[in-house]
Point group: C2
Amino acid sequence: VSDPHPSPAAVAESFFAAADLLRKHANTHLREQGLTLARGKTLSILRHRGPLRVSTLAGKLGIASRSVTDAVDALERDGLAQRRPDPDDRRAVLVHLTDKGRKLLEESDAPRREAMQRSFAALTPAERAELSRLLSKLRAAALDTPP
Amino acid sequence: VSDPHPSPAAVAESFFAAADLLRKHANTHLREQGLTLARGKTLSILRHRGPLRVSTLAGKLGIASRSVTDAVDALERDGLAQRRPDPDDRRAVLVHLTDKGRKLLEESDAPRREAMQRSFAALTPAERAELSRLLSKLRAAALDTPP
DNA sequence: CGAATATCAGTGACACTGAAATTA
DNA sequence: CTAATTTCAGTGGCACTGATATTC
């Protein structure tokens, strides 16, 4: 069975190991659709929040604005997103999801859910709920304790 | 409170979000010691397993041999590891941890544990045990279901 | 004027595949 | 000869800081 009193460091280690593994799985499945986790996340945010400024997008993604410039460059190169001037502020651009991007996102949704379903199917619904609860607790604590 | 029936996709999302955040925290603290997660993990494996071949190290790290070459290059450049010929197989090299590497690893251990302590302190010992159990279940399932 | 916005320039850490050299 | 081991060459994804032009 498991250690009844795992140290924080030990839990952290399991946590990162599991995250790496699941991420690798998710990435594999996404890659078949021509996506990556970061790209998928960006497109997904754009779908849910509509056209966004680079800086807003950076905030949602938790990365620097400069990095978003590169990311949007790549998405634009592949025709998945498009920059358009913000009509209300000539300093800003709004990043739009293109039809192609929207379509790709929809097509990748089912396989992505399937992949996650496979990985998380090992847990019972109750365990998933408990995991979810623990994760949000962790996340809140981490946000409360800036590095 | 939380959703009593989170979908696998939703749990996956929280999972990756939490992992990103914790990783960022851990990285910040490690960086103060001149380390990164990947470098720390490599050194840690070398400490526990002794001198290893590049291919063995690649297996433990879960990455391609070629990537280990680069990683060891960097560690060797910083004097934390050292390549030596394998006396039993002239094709192979053994990657050794240097005294400097060992020392750095020891010095970084306390702050790393502290950082994880801070993050995971939000969970009770029972919750940590439960999380640990769920993680190993997830990990086992993922290993059983190759992408 | 100072503040906000996005981009340019340069860099770093980390991973990959495929081909080559050496040795078992 | 075949297989194993490591390295070389080239590339890709993703992120960073600092400086700059434009606009609010």
